[in-house]
Assembly symmetry: C2
């Protein structure tokens, strides 16, 4: 009456690939429909992000990088909220169950879960005739009332960003064989570096406690620096002035701008950076920069929060405002 | 370089349809990437279940029932774990953003969130060129260490099940125009009742505290009573004997069996029941039955846990063992 079935297929898939990842006692070995997350006196920070084949990753991306990206985009949110990872649940919508795809996926997911101390707590595996999709809900802990929100930015705060901006968007262009791919035809190292930035984000969880201790507002940059800063300012009821020459760029990105292959505007609106964007009063900002340096992570001041409700202004080296045709990348 | 975009499309969709559902302060009005879930001294129970168009619901199902099913399959897990709902996050993979689909979806989701006191805390909306999919991760609270697992069933425990079994599988057959649809051609009321059981589960959250107080093991019946009981027994290291004549059936299901349209075996393996299956020592079982009656919910004893590691035995009215060709419905 119902479809042909194989009652143990999902269970055996879970046992084979994912049970080894369920190292936390609260995961109950994945034999239950539910997991136990102990709050340990903290607030639980919850974040959820899905990646869809053909939308957030390419069908040709290796499955190990897809697994890492799916988890890391969520870890990046936890980092920006000042939260320490506590675990995650996974919904995997699969078109096929090929070992050649699932084995590297599960192994890489397990490695990242271990690296970031964020164990698999549970999940659901469903079949789909359409594109594959990985939806992850991740949990973190913060001391009660201490999650770093988007609403606390104050005029006078410095605006900070970790790492470099725009590399992932350039990496996507390389994968798509666009202008960047052509410009870097003879530079395989630069191509690989940019592709890696697109495929495998580097969430800044090492900085989470520093963000919690010093930032007035924070979020991760996932849809483009310009658009995400605009959202943060709107949530805080403030505006901002950005010195575009201060925005940290990789050597590859700087070279592509110098060669007029891409514009800085493109990088400011490019997606998939997964860096932390935060605001802090000057002394706290300096502390954050120093803490980043001690952790081996560049934290760069790129501008200042100002009073007002206008969109943030992006000024070039001559103090002229750049007109951004778009602020961010949207999958819609 | 990246795709054409509309940076505010996802934000405006969220604001329009889902912000009204985010009534919990921890949802932060959906303006942040993360939500705050306060544990309030409890353990957090986490469960995640996804429904996929064409797999778990039909493309022709009304979107309001799809929303209710997506949330309720998760609420059903919380009920079986003895947990009180605390909130949920939603990942919505949409092919289109038609108001005619989204408005009833969001309204029904909001109604159920209110009814079950399980507010929307956050989510992610992504586009997909494939089938639509709704993945929900739901949270509940239980006193520390009190989640009802699958491993506690003891020989001598009675086996209880809420409501009636098999109706949803019959409803799916009606929707697919199968043998049940033909048999009920002149009984629109029965057809509608069975369809409703398929489309809109009735999670037994009203019984959650009673389950927590009295059950030794529990799970919800989602993939078929026979298969789910087999899983519970395996997790507890026990076996079971079921008196099939005791399995509670609706009038419609009983009539279809009497008319030899379907077999009882089909109902025992049918999916989508979303009833609570639990075990308890006899006195506690009687208490659960009485508490169910007081709550207006049938709780029925259908068998006994026995020592051993064999698969549960299903005995007919003559004490003969039924041979179940399959134990459960699987979407794989």
């Amino acid at each position: 009456m119902t479809n042909p079935h194989n009652p143990s297929a999902e269970d055996s898939l879970i046992a084979r690939y994912f049970k080894p990842l369920a190292t936390d006692p609260g995961a109950l070995g994945l034999v239950d429909d539910a997991a136990i997350l102990q709050a340990l006196g903290s607030d639980i920070v919850v974040t959820t992000d899905a990646v869809v084949e053909g939308v957030h990753y390419l069908a040709t991306d290796p499955s190990d990088t897809i697994a890492r990206k799916a988890l890391r985009v969520n870890l990046s949110d936890l980092a920006a909220k000042g939260a320490v990872p506590a675990g995650f649940v996974l919904t995997l919508a699969l078109r096929s169950k090929e070992d050649a795809w699932l084995r590297p996926f599960a192994d890489a997911l397990g490695e990242d879960a271990k690296t970031f101390v964020c164990p698999l707590l549970g999940g659901d595996t469903v079949s789909t005739p359409g594109p594959q999709m990985i939806s992850i809900t991740a949990f973190g802990r913060v001391p009660q009332g201490r999650m770093v929100g988007r609403t606390g930015a104050q005029p006078g705060d410095r605006i900070l960003v970790t790492g470099t901006i725009g590399d992932a968007a350039l990496g996507l262009d390389v994968l798509k064989g666009g202008a960047v791919a052509n410009a870097l035809a003879s530079d395989p190292h630069a191509r690989e570096t940019l592709i890696s930035r697109y495929r495998v984000p580097q969430p800044r969880n090492a900085l989470a406690q520093s963000v919690r201790d010093h930032a007035t507002a924070a979020m991760d940059v996932s849809d483009g620096l310009a658009g995400d800063l605009t959202k943060l300012c709107a949530a805080s009821g403030v505006s901002a002035t950005i010195d575009v020459t201060s925005v940290p760029l990789s050597a590859a990105a700087a070279g592509l701008i110098a060669g007029k292959v891409v514009s800085v505007e493109t990088l400011l609106a490019g997606g998939d950076d997964y860096e932390v964007l935060c605001t802090a009063p000057p002394a706290q900002a300096n502390a954050l920069i120093a803490l980043g340096r001690a952790a081996g992570l560049a934290v760069t001041a790129i501008g200042t929060i100002v009073a007002g409700h206008e969109r943030p202004r992006f000024l070039d080296g001559q103090g002229q405002e750049l007109v951004l045709k778009r602020l961010s990348y949207s999958h819609f």
